[in-house]
């Protein structure tokens, strides 16, 4: 009887040894050895995500939108509803009145003066309501913390309460103009400070959209003060007061920045927790069952990636703005590169896909510009302070100083720095006039040329943040 040859038996034994190895490689490490495109998300992401979440909880930071809600204020103490009443009474501002606010300071025509005067007198009741609201010191806006409505409101249209505040603040800005027309600059400053108080009353609202509203309210105050300083004559006491009050505004910037990034992180966490709802309801994107099934396995990695970036951004709020801007630009570039890599992998058939930060790449780009927005605001704020100090210097010594360092010891200490560079603002004196500006986001001295808005488009290139050109 014939049997298998020795060679066949050896081959069989070799096969017996090789078979489990091949099987193991193909079944347990498909991402390395399989010829198919394999989707293999990180296996440790889940554990790391738990750690990250517990870290956020331990710090007492908000995790979702409902955590953001501040304790309710009784209606009698809440200024929001008075602003609503004032806004409802005024309705939509007439076109000619609205134009007064959009223009740079210039002398009003007689017709405009009459229109402004009659408008202020017609709406005395609203002004009374606003003044009363300001005394409350606390304003809680009726923000809906349901994910979908919150998202729609903050991204697609303004919530109604934005209109209440916008109208109220515009009314105050108009009153500043009105007082200026009456050569009552001191009173105009008081009204500008009332605008600041409207912004201050929102400080206990840890929702990022409210903080953006607060920022724009402060911006209105700054442009009002700019008009006052350009057109009115202020006493040394008022100028000193102006410098001191605005110094406190500077401290609010870090607080606002942090609240905004924390709020956006909450949105991110909610989106990651319910990606399908987020995509369909908030972005109008429909995710098929199969795509969702595939994507759901990346979600932990995606959440982890996003949370790490948000964590870095929050730590940047502790830095001076010019450093934070640099660091956030680096982060932005990093995220962009990751996005490019992931897209390339998704479209190449042979790639082994192990990371896909789908929601991170949709939501993260929103936060990188935040530091620049705040730096612009701070530049304007510091310019107002420096100009007040310059005016004070002129009252004392009869002329504007030759350099900014001259006001350092005598009036303003420490001297405010350009938030984009960390160095002094650029100051040029020519006779009894001066030019003051920050270099802006491009970090280049464009000779005091600001960004121009032509036919609905911002013309990029020159972006200095300039105080009223050649003030005298």
């Amino acid at each position: 009887m014939k049997k298998l040859s020795k060679f066949e038996i050896i081959a069989g034994i070799v096969g017996l040894v090789v078979f489990p190895i091949v099987g193991y490689l193909l079944i347990y490490s498909p991402e390395k050895y399989s010829p198919f495109p394999i989707i293999a998300p990180s296996r440790t992401a889940g554990m790391e995500l738990k750690k990250e979440i517990s870290y956020i909880k331990a710090r007492g930071d908000p995790l979702n939108l409902k955590d953001l809600a501040s304790p309710p204020i009784p209606k009698e103490e809440n200024a929001a509803f008075l602003y609503q009443k004032a806004s409802d009474k005024v309705g939509k501002l007439p076109g000619e009145i609205e134009e007064l606010l959009s223009e740079r300071p210039s002398n009003l025509t007689l017709k405009e003066k009459i229109a402004l005067d009659s408008f202020i007198k017609e709406n005395e009741e609203s002004f009374f309501l606003i003044e009363k609201a300001i005394t409350y010191n606390r304003c809680q806006l009726p923000v809906n913390y349901e994910m979908s409505s919150y998202f729609k409101l903050s991204y697609f249209s303004d919530p109604p309460y934005v209109e209440w505040l916008r109208t109220s603040v515009r009314l105050l800005a108009l009153k500043v103009l009105w007082e200026l027309e009456k050569h009552n600059a001191e009173e105009a400053v008081n009204i500008a400070f009332q605008i600041k108080k409207v912004g201050d009353s929102l400080s206990n609202q840890p929702v990022f959209i409210v903080q953006f509203i607060r920022l724009s309210i402060y911006s209105v105050m700054l442009s009002s003060l700019e008009k006052i300083l350009l057109e009115g004559d202020l006493s040394p006491v008022t100028l000193k007061r102006l410098i001191d009050v605005l110094a406190s505004c500077q401290q609010d910037i870090k607080e606002m920045l942090k609240l905004i990034i924390l709020g956006k992180r909450c949105i991110f966490i909610e989106a990651v927790q319910n990606p399908r709802n987020f995509l369909i309801e908030e972005r109008g994107l429909k995710m098929g069952k199969m795509s969702y099934f595939i994507y759901s396995r990346f979600i932990k990695g995606d959440a982890l990636y996003g949370l790490r970036i948000y964590k870095k951004m929050i730590s940047l709020t502790e830095l001076p703005l010019y450093e934070a801007i640099k660091e956030s630009e680096k982060l932005e570039e990093e995220v962009r590169n990751d996005y490019r890599k992931e897209i390339n992998k998704l479209f190449s058939k042979s790639a082994k896909i192990s990371e896909w930060h789908f929601i991170s790449h949709m939501l993260l780009p929103d936060i990188f510009g935040t530091f620049k927005i705040f730096a612009e605001y701070e530049a304007k704020l510091q310019e107002v302070r420096i100009v007040a100090a310059l005016k004070l210097y002129r009252i004392k010594y009869g002329v504007y100083p030759d350099t900014l360092d001259d006001i350092l010891l005598k009036i303003l200490s420490p001297l405010p720095k350009d938030p984009f560079t960390g160095k002094n603002f650029i100051y040029k004196k020519e006779g009894d006039r001066f030019l003051l500006y920050s270099v802006g986001a491009n970090l280049k001295d464009d000779g005091g040329e600001p960004e121009i808005f032509v036919n609905g488009v911002w013309k990029r290139g020159k972006d200095d943040i300039v105080w009223g050109k050649w003030d005298n």
């Binding site: 014939k2 049997k3 298998l4 081959a11 090789v18 989707i39």
Partner: protein, 241 residues
Amino acid sequence: MVDTRGFSGLFKESLHLYKTNFKFLTSIIFLSYFWGVIVNGLWKWFKPYLLPILYARLAYVTISLISWFLTTLGIVAIVIALNNLQKDEKKPLSSVYTEAVKLFFPVSTILIIEYLIILGGSVLFIVPGIIFFIWYLFSVYTAVVHKKRKGEALVLSKLVVKVSPGKVIGYMLLMGIISYTLSLLFYLPILIGVFSAFVPYPVGIILYGGIKSILTVWVTTFTLLLYMEIIEANPRILESI
């Protein structure tokens, strides 16, 4: 001395045998082999998405085993049925499958040993693997027709091939090319071009399974006839085992 029919003779006879028993043979193959192909095809469809999940690997092993069981059972049943037809006995489907189930484990053992030897041979510089593959072409037929088990079945297959290796290789290669071309002719419109856009993947899999099943019966018939012819021409091979 038995008259050798040549390739065309075997080809025509296998075609004739299949034609005359088309319904019977097709029903046998569609009972198990077809489903094995379908299961395997569906698995391939989901494979890239499912593999990273741990349970999916378990499912992969399970489905692969199920697919293997169904296809092997189908092949064994077809060989039994064809063997019976050769002897002019037409047994009903149930008895064919009862016999196939009985033979499944011996055949599986043979196939596993065969696979391990071929794998080992392939690892040892590829060529031995190819040689072993050709030697063991008839292993299933020796198990079904001559009730050989384990190593014996492989040895018999080897001896049968060794009688006229050129003929076996040539005939099987030719048959392989013909069946592959035929399957492509049917399957190509689904595989490429404009049509593929209109045929959903599951439909394509079913069509592929159907075509593959029918062609498998034909190739099996041809191989069995070839095997029988060599055995009849050299009856001493059986005595030597």
